[in-house]
Each structure stands twice: as C-alpha cells, then as structure tokens.
C-alpha cells in the first residue's frame, strides 16, 4: 500500500440517518486531493472520522499503511468548516497554543506562530484579539493554526469559503508549497473551477458514498458526453449532429452535447459541409458538469 492517507469503506449512522454508506478516499504522500460533494454528502463526517472526532460504525483509516493513531493525528493540520477559534485569545497566543498542544516546545511554537502569522498576512495583528478580526482574517488565523506544527497531513474543510481573491491566492500558494514539502493535503470545496485549477486528484462523494476518484482529466474523460463547440464564420446554419443536444450558444458559438464515442473528425467534417467553420473545439465536459452528472442533480 502506498504512503499517505487511505480511507476504506467508512460507514456512519446517526440514529435513523445514514451519513456514510461506504466512503473511500486516497490522499497519497505529497499530493493535493479535492474532496467534492453536494451538501450533506458526508464530507465533513468523513473528515471528522479521519480525525477521530466521530467514531465510525465500520471501515478503516490508515496512515502510511498502519491504522491511524492519536500520535499520527497530532501531526494533522485541521481546518474545520465552522471556524473554531477562541474569541478572547490574541492571534499569536492562539497559534502558539495550538502548536504546543500538537507537541511543539514553547520556543518553537512561538517562532512558528510568528512565522505563520506573517505568511498569512497578519504580522501587524498578532496582538489583536481574535474577536477583533474580520471573518476573512479569522480564516487566515485558522489556516496558521492548521500549519503551525508543520503537519504531515492537512485536512481542510471548505478552506476557500468566504475568502477574498488575495486570500485565495495566498491559500493556494501555501497549499502548493506544502504539497511540494511532501505533505498530503485533502480539501473540500464547492468552488469547482478552483478545484480544477488546484487539485491533482479529485474524489466525488454523494449520499454517503464515493462516486468517483481520479485526476481531473481522468474524471472528465470518463464522462459519457463530449462538448462540440463551433464558431461559424458566416451565418449560423440549421445543422445538428445526429443524436446531439443543441445548447444555446452565444457570441456566434454553437454548442452541442454528443456521446463520448462519437467520431470527432467525422463530426467536424459534417459541420464544415453545413457551413463555414471559423473555429472548432471538441472536449470532455468541465469538472462542474462531471460533478453534476455524478451526484445526479
């Protein structure tokens, strides 16, 4: 079994509600994995299960090939969906405190707290109380808290929610940097365009089950659909490929959804006979459409 996090067959029931029916998730060492799913799909419960915050009814969580232990979990950087900070603690104090809880000695925790406060852009706010910060800045503190002990695994639940573009760029840089350092990073997000740009691997879950896993390109290629987009040089002809769905186009572009097994070159040749083609594109659907296909929306 490869290094990193391996989640197999997680199941969890809360009373009559089945939250997880069998979640599988792989986060190899030094990789960035997007964990996607609609609301209520079981992402947060899975993350809490990995951290031992919620006892699972069935399934296993292993780290580097062995069942994950409390000591392994002390090397996890966690950013919960509902931000968790002490409102009346100072920024530096808070980051250092969590560092010490994770096992750092006092002086290292202080040094790292200063470093990460600066990295997330809060160098001039270290002596402010958490409650005096804006929501976005509190989120930066939360990120610093997740990073202060230099974790081996980062679990980030909706880390981009509520961030401005500058903060998103900072977070993306830091995540990429951590991955280059060999850290395994898994994050959930509803911003699929962002996931598509950032993540190497993606796991999509729905209704407590894993629906698909793979690279973004693999998932897109697995789609039974393809998108044919044609920009006409002249007037748009009344033409559609056989069995295709024509979608409303704009700016002189016509968009067709065709089956994946369709012969693309034959289709383009047919289009050229129907009208004068200025540009053509034939590709699998984007991650957002793949996501919708898989979660059944």
């Amino acid at each position: 079994m490869a290094g990193g996090l391996h989640v197999q067959g997680l199941q969890k029931r809360f009373g009559d509600v089945v939250a997880l029916r069998g979640i599988n998730l792989e986060v190899p060492t030094g990789e960035l994995v997007g964990f996607l799913g609609p609301n209520g799909a079981g992402k947060t419960t899975t993350m809490r299960g990995i951290l031992g915050l919620v006892a699972m009814d069935a399934g296993s969580v292993t780290w580097n090939g062995s069942p994950i232990t409390i000591d392994d979990r002390r090397h996890v950087g966690y950013m919960p969906q509902e931000r968790g900070l002490y409102p009346r603690m100072k920024v530096h104090e808070h980051i250092a405190y969590i560092g010490r809880l994770a096992g750092l000695d006092r002086s290292t925790a202080d040094q790292r707290a200063s470093y990460w406060a600066e990295r997330v852009g809060l160098a001039d706010r270290v002596d402010d109380l958490i409650q005096e910060l804006s929501t976005g800045n509190q989120q930066r503190v939360q990120l610093a808290v997740a990073l202060v002990h230099e974790p081996n695994l980062m679990i980030l639940d909706e880390p981009f929610a509520g961030l401005d573009p500058v903060a998103v760029a900072t977070l993306t840089d830091i995540m990429t940097e951590q991955v280059e350092r060999g850290v395994s990073v898994v994050f959930s997000s509803h911003q699929l365009d962002l996931v598509q740009d950032v993540a190497e691997q993606v796991t999509i879950v729905a209704a407590g089950e894993t629906k698909a896993t793979g690279t973004v390109t693999e998932l897109r290629n697995r789609s039974p659909k393809r998108l044919l987009e044609i920009r006409w040089a002249g007037p748009e002809p009344d033409w559609s490929p056989p069995g295709a769905n024509r979608e409303p186009g704009r700016d002189g572009v016509t968009r067709f959804v065709v089956a994946a097994e369709t012969d693309a070159s034959a289709l383009i040749a047919q289009a050229a006979t129907a009208g004068e083609v200025a540009a053509v594109s034939y590709q699998p659907p984007g991650l957002d459409e793949v996501f919708l296909e898989l979660v059944g929306a």
Binding site: R48, L51, G52, L53, V54, A55, I70, R73, R74, V76, Y78, P80, E82, R83, G84, L85, Y86, P87, R88, M89, Y97, I98, R100, L101, A102, G103, L104, D105, R106, V145
Partner: protein, 398 residues
C-alpha cells in the same frame, strides 16, 4: 515536548485570571480579608474599656492610695474623691446617692450602699492586706528587701483539659470560613468550568482541540487549571487576611485550630475537583449559555444541603445522624468533614472513609465525564437528556 494537560490548564489559568470580573472579585475579597482584622484592631472593644469607679477617701494615707491604684491596674479605673473632715452622714449620703461608688473610712472600713461590688472589694481588700502585712513586717524589724521578697508573687501555670472557650470560638470561626469556601468556590469555579466548555462548543474550537487531544485530556486540563486558579484566589485572600491579623495582632490562632487545617485544605481541593468535573460534564450536555442555569440546578441540592447541615454542625450538635451521612457522601463531604474535625466530633475511621470515598468519587466522575465528553463535545442543538447521559455513562463503569 509539552504536556497537553498542563497546556490546557495553563491557558485556563491565564485567560480566566485576565478577566475583569475575576480580578475585581479577588480584589474585593482581599480587601475584605484585610479590612476586617484592621477594623477589629482599630475599633475599641467594649470589654477592653475599664470600668471607672469613684472611691471616697476619709483620712486615707497617700501610700494606701498608691497601693489601691496598683491593685486596680488593668481591672478598674479608680478615681479618688477626698472626704477628709466630712461627717459620716455626708459620706454615707454621697454613697447612697451614687456620687461615689464606695468610701473608705479610717479603720479601715469600706462603706457600701446596699450590695458589695466584689470587683472593687477584691482590689480594696488586697490593698489593705498588703498595707497591714507591710506594717507588721516593719514592726518585726524586717528590712525593705525581705518585705519585697515576701510579696514576690508565685507564678501559677494553668492547663485546660478540653481547651478554652476562646480556642473553640476560633475553631468555629475557621470552620465557618472553611464551610463558606467549600460552598462558594466549587459553585463559582464550577460555573467557570461549565462556561468554558460551552464556549469551546459554541465557537467550535473544540473540533480543533480534539484533533490534537483526547477528550479526557481536555477535561482534566480544564478541571486542574480552574482548580488551581481557585486555590490561588483562596490563598491570596486568606494570605491577605492572615497578614493583616499578624500585623494588627488582634488575636492568635490557637494550636488546636492548626490541627484541622490540613483536613480543611484537602476538603476544599476535593470539593473543587469533584464539582469542577461535574460542571464540565454538565457543560458538555448543552450548546448555549442560556441553558446553563437549567442544567446546573441539580448540583445545588447537595451544595445547599451540605451548607445548611454544616452550619448547624458548627453552632450545634456535630454528631447527628445526618451529619455523619453527609460526611461520607462525596458531594457534601468537603463541607462536613472539616467541621466535624474542628468540633472534635468524628472518629478517625470516619475521616479515613470520608476521604477515601471523596477520592474515589472524583476518580469515578472523571472517568464518567471523560466518557460522556467523547459523545457530547461535538453535539450541538438541543440539550442531551438525562436518559441519554446515563446510557453514555454506562461504558465508563464497565
């Protein structure tokens, strides 16, 4: 490496001691502890004031007057009024009308109105006896040194089998202060513990904490931290009071009182441990501060029962059946045990059993609370019911 329990405890101490309310309350308590002994020292006690007695003198020698004053010193404030040359009727009238308390006529004769005032009588009789012995001594040819030797008083030592009333009073006062500490501190710091748990739940910071700590570690750190803070507050207040007492020297603490101080300290610590744990457990059942008073209500029953029975044990019978039962019950033992020890109304085996049950109760409650914590810390929304609580606790007792 740092100890997570110590880190959690330290954070509780630092953050709570920084709050304005904690500082204000501690300041007020220290002020009261200092002001009371100082005020007692400055405020003259009625018992310290000497009774003024007016003594009428009919041809009494100056030397006798000096001896009377010497015997009265520290007991009576004697004022003399001269009646030399006055008739017996005048002197008698002065005594009868209360112009003077007593008169001395040659003889010597002491003139009272109706009743003898024994305090004055002792002073005057001792003075006359001494003057008479002096005169006889001189008559026998003794020199002044021999006479002085005759009057050198014998030092008589005193021993009390059951202690003096004063040491009983001081023991009762200290026991009462101990009872108040064992009643108030667990409530005050128990509530702080509860609110700290609720704050961590409501702000969701508990999720981050539990990704690094076991629930029981978090619980222990919290209980220890706030317990230490309570002890610091108590030590500052009591220290201030003792310092004020020593400086003003209003009274000394009798040796018998020091005997039960260790039991008092252990009881207060035990009370803090058991109630802080209990309040932490209760805090984990709710998600909003508004529900705190409702969930705390049951803990007031043993606290109030212990306080009421404790008070009656201080001022009345400390050996009743109910006092014995509450001494053994871990939630009331911190209040009852020191009182019964102070009143010397307890057998040694009761002390041992009470302390043993208290320690056992604390350990058991920590185990149960740790177990419940695991289930409830991430619980939000409606309060966890008592039936659900009992179900969760079962695993801890296996």
């Amino acid at each position: 490496m740092t100890s997570p329990v110590r880190e959690v405890a330290w954070r509780e101490i630092v953050t709570r001691s920084r709050t304005t309310s904690f500082r204000a309350i501690t300041g007020i308590l220290v002020l009261v502890a200092i002001i009371v002994p100082v005020a007692l020292a400055l405020w003259p006690d009625d018992e310290d004031e000497l009774r003024t007695v007016t003594v009428g003198l009919v041809d009494v020698e100056q030397a006798t007057q000096q001896v009377i004053l010497a015997f009265a010193e520290g007991n009576l404030d004697i004022e003399f009024q001269e009646y030399s040359g006055s008739s017996i009727e005048v002197v008698s009238q002065a005594v009868a009308e209360g112009d003077i308390d007593v008169a001395i006529e040659p003889g010597p004769t002491i003139v009272w109105n109706k009743d003898i005032d024994f305090e004055i009588a002792v002073v005057l009789n001792n003075a006359f006896q001494q003057q008479d012995v002096l005169a006889r001594g001189r008559g026998l040819g003794l020199d002044e040194q021999d006479i002085a030797n005759l009057f050198t008083p014998l030092v008589v030592e005193e021993r009390f089998v059951e202690g003096t009333d004063e040491s009983d009073e001081v023991a009762s006062v200290v026991a009462l202060i101990g009872l108040m500490a064992a009643f108030i501190l667990p409530q005050a710091f128990g509530q702080l513990t509860l609110l700290s748990v609720v704050e961590e739940k409501s702000t969701r910071v508990v999720e981050v904490l539990l990704s690094h700590l076991r629930p029981r570690t978090l619980l222990l750190g919290k209980v220890i931290g706030l317990g230490v803070l309570a002890v610091i507050q108590l030590a500052v207040v009591v220290g201030g009071g003792i310092a004020a007492l020593l400086l003003t020297s209003t009274f000394e603490i009798p040796a018998s009182v020091w005997r039960f101080i260790p039991i008092l300290v252990i009881s207060v610590l035990g009370g803090l441990a058991i109630y802080n744990t209990l309040f932490a457990l209760l805090g984990s059942l709710i998600s909003r501060q508004e529900d705190a008073s409702q969930v705390m209500m049951p803990t007031l029953v043993p606290l109030i029962a212990g306080y009421i029975i404790g008070q009656s044990a201080i001022f009345g019978d400390a050996d009743t059946g109910i006092a014995k039962v509450l001494t053994l019950f871990p939630l009331t033992a911190p209040m009852m045990l020191p009182i019964r020890v102070a009143r010397d109304a307890i057998e040694w085996w009761e002390v041992t059993l009470s302390l043993g049950l208290l320690v056992l109760g604390v350990l058991l409650l920590i185990r149960v609370a740790g177990r419940v914590y695991e289930f409830t810390l991430l619980h939000t929304g409606a309060r966890v019911g008592w039936r659900e609580l009992i179900r969760m606790s079962r695993g801890a007792l296996d």
